[in-house]
């Protein structure tokens, strides 16, 4: 194209411009992806509304419209700000500030337009917003033999999610300890226990399930449960060997 030099110049400029634009968009996209990846982690004291999909799915579904926040009659739910906290614009609550009152009609779930809050949740006691954990055994008043009992009393699923387990008070030798024990299979994570804990810093805290719950491998079988299910010994004819006890010194 020697006879038309500016054609090739134009072409070069076009290709350069296109490449530059594409690379700019690529860099921008990458920066956004890094930001989005960073904001995927949920702070330990931030709880999602009832019925929220598991966190990764939730972030794909929540459009940050705030309709759940509007539906909440107790001002529990907030939208996260740009700065530190859950992913910007997503709804959350902090149990120690305002816990979930567990409305029976679950208005926040009904308000969600996208399904980020799952409408298959119709019984609020089936909600799993988090799970309560006694995080501080050395400050919990009940564990020191006192009768505080507040977390137990305020629990909306009392005697199922939190029970008081009686044991011997080894400090005094003659009293009882009433230990609050959380049962994750019944705890909704509403946060009333954490809110009501009388200590300056709550000894019982509601943590996101991913943080608080352990999980056994899927292939684990508990022998005693399998035995009950089967109604018989799983391995018949097991020999019960004699227990070996430590020998007494003469």
């Amino acid at each position: 194209m020697a006879s038309e030099p500016h054609h090739s110049v134009n072409r070069r400029r076009f290709v350069q411009g296109t490449l530059r634009t594409a690379m700019g968009a690529g860099v921008g996209g990458l920066a956004l992806a890094l930001l989005a990846r960073q904001s995927r982690s949920l702070p330990a004291d931030a709880l999602r509304p009832p019925g929220a999909l598991p966190e990764p799915n939730f972030l794909a579904a929540c459009v940050r419209c705030g309709l759940c926040v509007r539906a909440c009659p107790y001002d529990t739910l907030k939208l996260a700000d740009l700065a530190a906290g859950p992913a910007g614009g997503t709804p959350y609550f902090r149990a120690r500030n305002i816990p979930c009152e567990m409305c029976e009609d679950i208005p926040c779930v009904k308000a969600c337009p996208t399904g980020a809050l799952d409408k298959s949740l119709v019984d609020i006691t089936a909600a799993r917003m988090g799970v309560a954990v006694i995080v501080s055994r050395d400050t919990c008043l009940n564990l020191q033999g006192l009768r505080c009992d507040v977390c137990y009393r305020v629990c909306p699923v009392i005697d199922k999610a939190i029970t008081l387990e009686q044991s011997h008070n080894r400090r005094t030798g003659k009293h009882a300890v009433f230990e609050p024990v959380v049962h994750p299979d019944a705890c909704t994570g509403c946060g009333k226990c954490e809110k009501s804990c009388v200590l300056t810093e709550a000894a019982i805290k509601v943590l996101p399930i991913g943080l608080a719950a352990g999980r056994q491998d899927a292939h684990y079988r508990r022998g005693w449960e399998e035995k009950r299910k089967a109604g018989e010994e799983l391995v018949p004819g097991l020999i019960d060997l004699p227990d070996r006890l430590p020998e007494m010194k003469p």
Binding site: L30, R40, V63, L67, R70, L79, L82, P113
Partner: protein, 307 residues
């Protein structure tokens, strides 16, 4: 030194303030009105529209959903529930009739911000600056959808100034306004009409709808055009005007580009009243005035448009 021509002053002088600012004033009122529908709840307890511009519920029955938010959700592999999809259908249907990027010019809260930046640029005589390609917005939208897909999140809502303004106004939190300030600074200093015209993927999506929308601006009186170029100076997407105004290669008088935001500033500022609102199938063109040919000695319009 010749005084810089201030676009719109000629129309103002000939037709009065109202006729030279009618659509601009209506647009500001609409933008404030949309915000007021959302704000009346938190401020006065009168709940009309709840939510934000990403998804909302009006008078507890009409759902509305932003198209680009749905696209991101799909990219992140979440299929939204019926309410969100109904809202999407209503929005798409509305803008298929009422102009596509009319959202940008008449509802979006960022529009006054970038309009102010563009106005300041004209007044301060700031050079055009960095000229991005028109296709940048498609690549930006694609890159953002890719980021959503890669992270499995609705990624753009972290920084989307359009919804951040509403979130800040309705739910508190000022950090979001930093993004708005950044957009203003970008448009003022870095690139003319940089954000709305070249980067914003929300507007790009409405622009897609605008490719087929019914409501359009047309240069019906193009025969009266005296090449003052005020329309090009105020238009946030000046490339859309030329085909309809010049009628080259048999182009009709209707501005068909989806990029046109139907802001109507060209209608306001034209002293010759060339432009009007109409539907996209309107082919009427006013007859040229009997006398008054193009004044001799004026440069060819094409050269001016490029300037």
């Amino acid at each position: 030194m010749t005084a810089r021509r201030i676009p719109g002053r000629a129309a103002w002088a000939q037709h009065g303030f109202w006729r030279a600012h009618r659509l601009l004033v209506l647009r500001r009122l609409t933008q404030l009105g949309v915000l007021a529908l959302f704000l009346s709840g938190p401020l006065a307890g009168v709940w009309i529209a709840k939510g934000t511009l990403s998804a909302s519920l009006t008078v507890d029955v009409i759902p509305l959903t932003d198209p680009f938010v749905v696209l991101q959700s799909l990219a992140a592999r979440h299929w939204p529930e019926a309410t969100a999809l109904t809202g999407l259908g209503i929005v798409v249907a509305f803008y298929l009739v009422f102009g596509g990027r009319t959202f940008c010019a008449w509802a979006c809260p960022i529009n006054p911000v970038t309009d102010l930046a563009a106005w300041l640029r004209r007044r301060l005589g700031i050079e055009k600056g960095w000229v991005m390609r028109r296709e940048t917005r498609w690549l930006a939208a694609f890159a953002i959808l890719a980021a959503s897909a890669a992270t499995g999140t609705i990624a753009f809502e972290l920084i989307n100034p359009v919804t951040l303004v509403y979130r800040a106004a309705l739910f508190g939190g000022l950090a979001g306004l930093a993004v708005v300030a950044a957009v203003f600074a970008f448009d003022l200093v870095v690139a003319r009409d940089g954000w709305c015209g070249h980067l914003c993927p929300v507007g790009a999506t409405y622009g897609l709808i605008g490719k087929a929308t019914l409501l359009r601006v047309a240069a019906r009186g193009r025969a009266r055009c005296d090449d003052c170029l005020d329309c090009f100076a105020v238009c946030p997407e000046p490339h859309v005007i030329a085909p309809a105004l010049r009628g080259r290669e048999g182009a009709g008088p209707v501005i068909v580009s989806g990029d046109c935001t139907v802001c109507g500033r060209c209608i306001d500022v034209c002293p010759e009243r060339v432009f009007s609102l109409t539907h996209r199938f309107d082919t009427r063109v006013d007859a040229p005035p009997a006398s008054a040919p193009r004044p001799a000695g004026r440069p060819a319009p094409a050269a001016l448009e490029r300037a």
